[in-house]
Symmetry: C3
Subunit: 260 residues, 3 copies
Amino acid sequence: MNYELTHLPQRTSKPRDSGFTMAMDKGLSLRETENFVEVASEYVDIVKLGWATSFVTPNLDQKLDIYRAAGIPVYFGGTLFEAFIVRGQFEDYRRLLDKYKLQFAEISDGSIEMDHELKCKYIRTLAEQTTVLSEVGSKDDQKIIPPYKWISLMQAELDAGAWKVIGEARESGNVGLFRSTGEVRSGLVEEILTKIPFEKIIWEAPQKAQQVFFIKLLGANVNLGNIAPNEIVPLETIRLGLRGDTFTHFLDKGMLDKLV
Amino acid sequence: MNYELTHLPQRTSKPRDSGFTMAMDKGLSLRETENFVEVASEYVDIVKLGWATSFVTPNLDQKLDIYRAAGIPVYFGGTLFEAFIVRGQFEDYRRLLDKYKLQFAEISDGSIEMDHELKCKYIRTLAEQTTVLSEVGSKDDQKIIPPYKWISLMQAELDAGAWKVIGEARESGNVGLFRSTGEVRSGLVEEILTKIPFEKIIWEAPQKAQQVFFIKLLGANVNLGNIAPNEIVPLETIRLGLRGDTFTHFLDKGMLDKLV
Amino acid sequence: MNYELTHLPQRTSKPRDSGFTMAMDKGLSLRETENFVEVASEYVDIVKLGWATSFVTPNLDQKLDIYRAAGIPVYFGGTLFEAFIVRGQFEDYRRLLDKYKLQFAEISDGSIEMDHELKCKYIRTLAEQTTVLSEVGSKDDQKIIPPYKWISLMQAELDAGAWKVIGEARESGNVGLFRSTGEVRSGLVEEILTKIPFEKIIWEAPQKAQQVFFIKLLGANVNLGNIAPNEIVPLETIRLGLRGDTFTHFLDKGMLDKLV
């Protein structure tokens, strides 16, 4: 930090199990990746190459080298896993992870219907090769999963070997955990938390109001995902109570009363 | 491409007559232009320097050199043409195109009222000097042009020598082809397509839902425009059925059924 | 400018007292700062490091050097002032301004309740050390300040030594001067202008429709703030009547009539 401020919430530091930030790279150039890493390497714990953007982005090898040199693990978006699976190319996918030396992999079923036992089998298999993040929730805004089902899916995926589970929101933040307006399905979130430990969940929360909701509910060290590269610094200020939205949240009432 | 996937829609390759992507540069710096070209040169067929941004962007010569070296033609937004015309400076505009060695020019009347025969005369004149893109539709969200009128304007402008016609949407995607909410005027689009060949039209579609609409209606190789630089990679994944929105669109039902 | 156009509104030039543009940097990397300066140094009069982003952005010294070399003064967002004040660290804040050789400072009370005489006392004190910008308006969209109160607050802060006063809007443009939809509280703006000279006010106007409103109401040389780095070139075209939104605003009716 560039200077000293008292009364800040205690933040976890790398390697983080909670207070974890997952950023989404949806096609940065090499120099943009360097710019991102310069600003964010302290604050970003893992980078997702969004959905199948890794298929069309040139210079994938060099991009991975930049993230590797900055100590930030990278994984392919779950949609890419689904693209290989639906084509019967799972073995190709496994080879791809090895070829690019990826230590994390996401397993999801957001764009397809998949038998859940089959999904868990893929989790078990890939967990022998990588650290698995599994995602729950559909990208289809018409498909509403009731809370008890979210919980049983998450628990089964953790049992199958997922390191953490991700709550779906897309890049836009208007499906899965959120209503089509972007509003948090807060009853769903609270019910999930009665059963699943909060450090096992990464909440996709691309919109600022969503990030603020989770930080107010669960504290500075909630795990958040799908953060755009240029929103990493702003998010860190929200976690620390240094942006208007959470400014008074971490302060004692006595401190505020002295000014009026 | 970085790896192999089966069952992808066939994409056209450069120089493209259909499957064409027009990107909008609204003031990139030189290094940002280089970043853009690094990521997008395979996927971008032409770049528009949005409206009159070329007037205030420094280093215009060097920017044009970067695009030229990447093999991507550049043209000035139609609003700049209108700015010269309304000031009686058409001859200055012609000299400007020559000075910057631009091989494409846009002719539009989105911000002004112009007699259509006069517009067609400008198309005929500029078509002797450059390849002309002409734009139909108003930037004024109160000005609704009925479908039969869109068709007759487009046909007259193609007859006057326009290489392709552009359907207006602005940078924001909320006029012309679209309602003020951004929703596609789908009846308009379908009626236009009964008369004008689809490869002669570039649909401005800056919003993701708009791109998805046109790709589902007209396939991977529809011509799209006003794409922001950082949305070029995402658009290419939508064209290829590798993003949630079009994921199942290009697949056989049998492939999907095997997973449930 | 890259070429000549007649009939443009006269723009002020640096150092500007009116026609002033304040940009918001919310965490640019060093190279992104260089890119920004390359494009915008003619058009940006001052840069705000948004709220407390300067706390978490690395390389703060080097970033300030880049802006200094480009002749663009920098100041810390008002939320940072509030963060120091609420912690009883005002003297630390004064030392911080000296340490980074900042010639401007913002004083605000957007995230806290502060006695107005106390706020004016801070303005008087900091005005001995720097040029003070003071901000009126709350970041809380529930807190509506009536027009007469805006005027008396602004006047008192100018009397206390503020160089200019800023009308609050946040990065998002949906509080203070604006309704939660982003719509301008135009009656408020007009009433303020009956009492406070327009060159003493910087209107935060991050959204394009807001910039257009102020330029149509107050001309090309209105002072605007909270402009995103990649919107500086577009804003300059709006000021000059070279974008659709203000295209006809600065032209004589006779010029337009000649085309129909």
